[in-house]
Amino acid sequence: VKKRAVMLVLGTAILGGAILSFPRAAQSADAPAPAKPSFADASALFGKYCVSCHSGPAPRAEVVLKFQDEAEVRARASAHYDFFGRVATELSQDRMPPAYVKNRPTALERDLLLSWINKDVLPVAANSGRPDPGPFVLHRLNNREYANTVRELLYLPADYNAAADFPADERGDGFDNNSDTLTISPVLIEHYLGAAETSVNKAFKLYGADGRRDMTLPADNPVNAVVANIKGDFANRQGRVRIVIENFLPRAWRRPVTKEEVDGVMKFAALSFTHDGESFDKATALVIRAALMSPEFLFRMERDPAADGSGKVFQLTEFQLASRLSYFLWSTMPDEALMAEAKAGTLRKNLRVQVARMLKDPKSESLTRDFLGQWLEIRSLGQTPNVKPELLAAMKGETEHFFNSIIQQDSSIMDFLDANYTYVNGTLAAHYGIPGITGDAWQRVKLDPKQRGGIFTQASILTLTSKPLGEGRRTSPVVRGKWILENMFGQTIPPPPPNVPALQVDDGKELKGTVRQIFEQHRSNPICAGCHARMDPYGFALENYDGYGMWRLQDNHIDVDASGEINGHKFTTPMEFRQILGSRKDDFRRAFIRKMLGYALGRGIQGFDTPAVNQIAAAVQKDNDRFSSVIMNIVTSYPFDNARGSALNRPQQAESAKLQKASYTPANR
């Protein structure tokens, strides 16, 4: 007991409140919390760390964490569906207890409380009939969504990027489509104005002959014939512009539009006729520029139909669902088929067919480029010092082809943990020492299971988790271990304490001894041991791969030691290591689903999402972890299909009634 107390003081003093495992916990590295924490356990922890503020007549933040019995917990969870979700968020992000409080839960205690909330309490909330799909969000198109959408909308060439000069998007929770970090500023509005003008001009070849067809439609679209058949006298020009815009606007705004809305943008045709002569193209172009600056285009709108401040949950319209689907799987606007289903009201009914079609479409490569690239951080490979660009491209190519094949062949997501195949081109085959493969073409190869298997044995990951050393690169077991725990298993590793006496690895030139030997010294320091015991075994297991992911038996002329112990399971080879990871399938599945769901929703996953994550995970497991099952279960999940309306709102029923008026589209003219 005395030793514990000393360590606690030491821990908080040096870490400034960062989570610290006790050396005792560290010995059984990465020890899971007790399987079934009870109400009594949880209540004791609340009592120890929380109730001094969160109880009594004036509880802090009006949050009470003192409970008489389990029944009271259930009642609270049922009445306030996001109450415990918020508690879980505060805990997991280490926001509570606040940093100035010296009496802090240990990592184990924190895990125990979270486990109790996730397993015992949140399912109650989910079954209370008041689950929480998460807030309604106003989602600005990010740069790549904007570029893809403009290109598709105006039928511009594949290499046209309207957002090439835009300032980079900020990211939240690891992704650049997080609505809370997609802010707007005058600089961006200027870029939007410029990009709209440039793109439309490009589409119309404005200074050529006056349009004989509608440039916003493909050449074979029947509307072109209508436009061409209207004789070109000025009296008819306004009418021609209108026909084009009536087709364009629902596509641009991703929903049916009202007659008033068409009238609204048609003012710009008149403006153009006044200032710029009688050109059909110029008038149409100006209308389109205006439409592209509208919030209806720049944002994915999910209007709360009640908008009465009640915060009631609403189901998305099928048009909104079509947008969510399309930006999730394609990073671009919904296509004609999706819009047709939404218009007919059959999208939900035919969701399975539509999703299967979308995954087959080449546009689903955005999942590889944007989801995978950000999840596994391989988008940053391009900035890796001391690696030839050609090799870097091949490394990235392997991981992308690997993921793409999981999508296209609908393989198990467990292939990320262990697979007996990968994809190589000539460059990478040479790098891996696989004979007989040359040239730029990619091909699937069978792997020697003694050497490789699983995403973390791919050169891309092994390189981005190594560090520059002199002219070359050295491995970093810490970075590799942290990468696996965070990206594969969704664990959070606190940062090292400031000013810790660190190891002398990087003297900029060479190493003395193996990387592992140097890191082992580091772990002998009790201040560091707690966290490093959790991370390092995962990194040591990969010591057979050098700083570029090449297989090796020696490091610095000394035999590599790739053995270790995780959760009491010993391993000596990469194969045995993979078997241990294979026993963490549940953790990986949940981590993968949380990442994918966060990307799909464009927001961070919160405590109140836990029931949905659990449900999806159970269904995916039943489907043998097939990739399509992850996608299908996400797009049919409660948070994907619904949104929580805005609370604290003033009643605006008149306006929302206006919005729901009969829509006006060319088809029902």
Partner: protein, 451 residues
């Protein structure tokens, strides 16, 4: 990390070579800045401006500050390049960013997020981003309407595009020093060509092109009107709690509307100014171009407020051009390794050398019998304090320029340890005629800026 070349401006293959700094030949001394001319014409007092340079990853303080009281304060290893500007700058000691000490870990995010805002930032990886309005934006809101651009936000890198930044904190905090509201950073521009076009497209255009440019601006003005109306309608359908994003949009649009309504600047650019074509690879060249753009903007009175981010926090820039292939951030966690410390010192000094050149150029621009630098307050600083310790204490701070006669430079001032850097911001706001009683965690004005 080397900066990526812009796709459309890969001009090297065409033999065009390295981009020249915009004002390579220095501006002829006869050029009188627009702001000075305006002030003289109206018979008003001199116009003051504020430029703030933020350097990432702290500095190595033992190389920065004099170690003994009687040491010359500009003879330290890092600051020696500034000796020629001795009479034009103040070295400040004792300023803290105390709000960055709150909450656990995340020191880089907090260093940047708290620096100009003076508030505790909300610890979040994505949901509920919250910092505070930064002092430059307080100024921009108060006096920004006097110039075509209320403020400029520039930087030398955007920040990390994948992976995490500081644990528990969204990258938005460690990528942005300037915040227009507690939820919204002022997005910075990194590409010199884009900045040039934004600031000077009208002034640089030929007469024919200018006519077309004006017509398009008229159209854009109408489009923004229309967008404004749509937003106003839309706001009625959106809950108050969710309205901030639409408010951002509306505010941004209004700012541009005001600009488009103002009579177009007839001021031509000085001869010899060349439109930049690409993002230079080295910090030195990129810094020079962005510095030139700011000098040009201040001289033309296009804006009076500028923030300039020399790198995002945790910047992983490498400096092979000065023999340092390692990443800056990694080196700052030197753990006492003398070789790493030496390299951190080299980087700090390299950056200060560029700052010294920036000041040279500002002095070369005449405004009446004064110089542009005389009519500016140029701050060089950071919120991390010591790059290895992240102590947020005694943060390296230089104030250059005479602030249009409101500052007496040429001294080393030691403040009581723990004086909030927000006090400096408050004093600078005074000197920009922006009167506020508090900013963030300020406890009062910073004394001693004048003798």
């Amino acid at each position: 990390m080397r900066q990526p070349l812009h796709r459309r401006t890969l001009l090297r293959g065409l033999g065009i070579g390295i981009a020249l700094p915009l004002l390579d030949a220095m501006l002829p001394g006869s050029f009188v800045g627009q702001a000075a001319a305006a002030a003289r014409g109206a018979g008003r007092k001199r116009i003051n401006r504020m430029v703030l340079l933020y350097t990432p990853n702290g500095v190595h303080k033992p190389f920065w500050y004099p170690q003994n009281d009687d040491d010359d304060y500009l003879s330290t290893q890092t600051l020696s390049p500034l000796q020629r500007h001795r009479k034009d700058l103040l070295l400040l000691n004792g300023l803290n960013v105390d709000k960055a000490k709150l909450d656990s870990a995340g020191d880089h995010a907090k260093a940047m997020g708290c620096y100009l805002t003076g508030v505790q930032i909300n610890k979040t990886a994505g949901d509920d981003i919250r910092a505070g309005i930064s002092c430059d934006q307080v100024m921009a809101k108060a006096i920004g309407n006097k110039t075509r651009f209320p403020s400029l936000e520039l930087g030398l890198d955007y920040g990390r595009m994948e992976g995490g930044c500081d644990p528990g904190y969204a990258c938005i905090y460690s990528n942005n020093v300037s915040w227009t509201s507690e939820k919204t950073p002022a997005i910075k521009e990194v590409n010199p060509r884009v900045v040039f076009d934004r600031l000077f497209a009208g002034a640089a255009a030929s007469d024919h092109a200018a006519e077309s440019h004006d017509q398009q601006e008229t159209y854009n003005r109408s489009i923004l009107d229309f967008t404004n109306e749509s937003l106003t309608d839309l706001n009625k359908q959106i809950g108050a709690a969710d309205r901030h994003r639409m408010d951002e949009y509306l505010t941004s649009i209004r700012e541009i509307e005001v600009r488009l309504d103002a009579p177009p600047s007839k001021e031509k650019l000085p001869p010899g100014v060349v439109r930049p074509t690409r993002i230079p690879e080295t910090l030195k060249e990129h810094f020079a171009l962005m510095a030139d753009l700011q000098i040009l903007a201040l001289r033309q009175d296009v804006t009076r407020i500028s923030t300039f981010l020399l790198g995002v926090e945790q910047s992983r820039r490498t400096y092979p051009e000065i023999g340092i292939p390692e990443e800056h951030h990694g080196l700052t966690h030197h753990a006492g390794n003398p070789e790493k410390i030496a390299k951190v010192g080299q980087i700090d000094k390299h950056i200060i050398e560029q700052f010294a050149v920036f000041l040279d150029k500002m002095k070369a621009v005449k405004e009446g019998d004064k110089t542009l630098l005389d009519n500016c307050m140029v701050v060089f600083g950071n919120g991390n304090g010591d790059g290895a310790k992240h102590d947020h204490e005694n943060c390296a701070t230089i104030v250059a320029g005479r602030g249009a006669g409101t500052i007496d430079p040429g001294r080393y001032i030691k403040y009581a340890p723990g004086t909030p850097v927000s006090n400096l911001w408050l004093s600078m706001m005074d000197r920009m005629d922006v009167k506020v009683e508090r900013h963030g965690d300020s406890t009062g004005r910073l004394t001693g800026l004048t003798v």
